[in-house]
Symmetry: C2
Subunit: 162 residues, 2 copies
DNA sequence: TTAGGTGCAAACGGTTTGCAATCGA
DNA sequence: TCGATTGCAAACCGTTTGCACCTAA
C-alpha cells in the first residue's frame, strides 16, 4: 500500500529502458497503460485500466490495452492475476521480492502479504524437481474477518466434515 | 503420481456420501464426470473429460460437465487450476495435505511437488491478516530441465537484466 | 410425485485477430 | 522512409443460461 510515488516513476523508467533495449517504439498508448498499472490502486482489470484513463480524458482501444499489457508482462514489470472473477487483474511488480494474495472466498476481497518467509524455499523446491525458478505465486483462500463475523450468527453451512 | 487405484474409489465414495448428505440426486452423469476426474491422468480440461468419456463410449453434454464440476468443486474433492492456457484444468484432491505446481514457462509442462514444508506456515500467515485459512495454492514458474538444455546453445534471449 | 438434473442451442463476455490508417525512430 | 503500432469491428472460444424434457428418490 505505501507507494510513495517514486516507485511508479522508477518502474516507468525501467519500462522505457526495456523497450529501448529491444528497439521497440515507445508509444503514447504504451505509456498510458503502463502509467495506469504502475500508479498503484492495485489489481486493475482491463476495463479498470480503461476507466482510469478515461477519467483523465485519455482513450486507448481495448485491443491496444491487451497488447500493451502483453509487453508489460513480458518485461516482468507487471504480473497478471486471476482471482476467479472470469477476467484478469494486473499489478505492478515493484520489487523482485514479491508478495502473495489472501482472497476471501465469500466476498472476494484481496489482501496482500509478504512472501519473505517462502522466498528462500521456493527456488530450492524448483531445483529439486529439475526446474530453474523464475517466479512464483502463493495464494491463500479463506474467510476474511468481516465475513467470518457476519457468519457467526448464520446457519451452519452444512459444514465440510472431511 | 502413485495412485494405486484405491484412492479413486475412496474419493468416489466420499462424493456419494457428500451428495447424499445434502439430498442431491446421484446421477449417471455426475458419476461419469467424477470418475473421469478421480481416475488420475491429472489435470484434465473439460474437453479432456469429454474425450476420456467418449473413449469409453459415454456421452455427457458440455453444460452438464460444467455443472457436475461445480458440484465436485463445492464438495472440496476437486480443485480447478488455471495454467494460463485460456481454460481450466481439474484435478482430484486426494488428501487434504495438498501439492503445488511447477509450470515450465517455455513448454507448459506441469509437475507437482509436495507443499508439506509450507503447510504449517500458510494458516499462520492467514491468521496474521485476520483471515481464516481454507485452502491455498503454491505455484512456481520456471524452466524445466528439457527446455533449459534446449536453450543452452540458443541465442541469449535479450535477458532480463534487472 | 416432484424437486432437481440433463441436453441442446443460443447467449455471454473476456480476449484475440485481420486490416487499413498512422506513428515512432 | 519503413517496420511496428493502433483502432475498429468481427471473430474466437471457454463457459453460462433458458427451456422443454427426463429421472432419482
Amino acid at each position: 500500500m505505501p507507494d510513495g510515488d517514486a516507485a511508479p516513476q522508477q518502474l516507468f523508467d525501467r519500462f522505457h529502458r526495456w523497450l529501448r533495449e529491444r528497439h521497440l517504439p515507445i508509444t503514447r498508448q504504451r505509456d498510458m497503460v503502463a502509467r495506469a498499472v504502475f500508479a498503484g490502486g492495485e489489481h486493475l482489470s482491463v476495463v479498470g485500466i480503461q476507466r482510469r484513463l478515461r477519467e483523465q480524458g485519455l482513450r486507448v482501444g481495448t485491443a491496444t490495452v491487451y497488447r500493451s499489457l502483453d509487453v508489460l508482462l513480458e518485461s516482468g514489470l507487471v504480473r497478471a492475476n486471476d482471482f476467479g472473477e472470469g477476467f484478469k487483474r494486473f499489478e505492478a511488480l515493484l520489487s523482485p521480492g514479491q508478495h502473495g494474495h489472501l482472497i476471501c472466498s465469500r466476498c472476494g476481497r484481496v489482501t496482500e502479504f509478504s512472501t519473505e518467509r517462502f522466498e528462500r524455499l521456493l527456488p530450492m523446491v524448483a531445483d529439486e524437481q529439475g526446474f530453474q525458478h523464475q517466479t512464483h505465486r502463493v495464494e491463500i483462500r479463506g474467510l476474511c474477518r468481516v465475513c467470518r463475523e457476519a457468519d457467526a450468527g448464520a446457519v451452519q453451512h452444512a459444514g465440510t466434515i472431511f
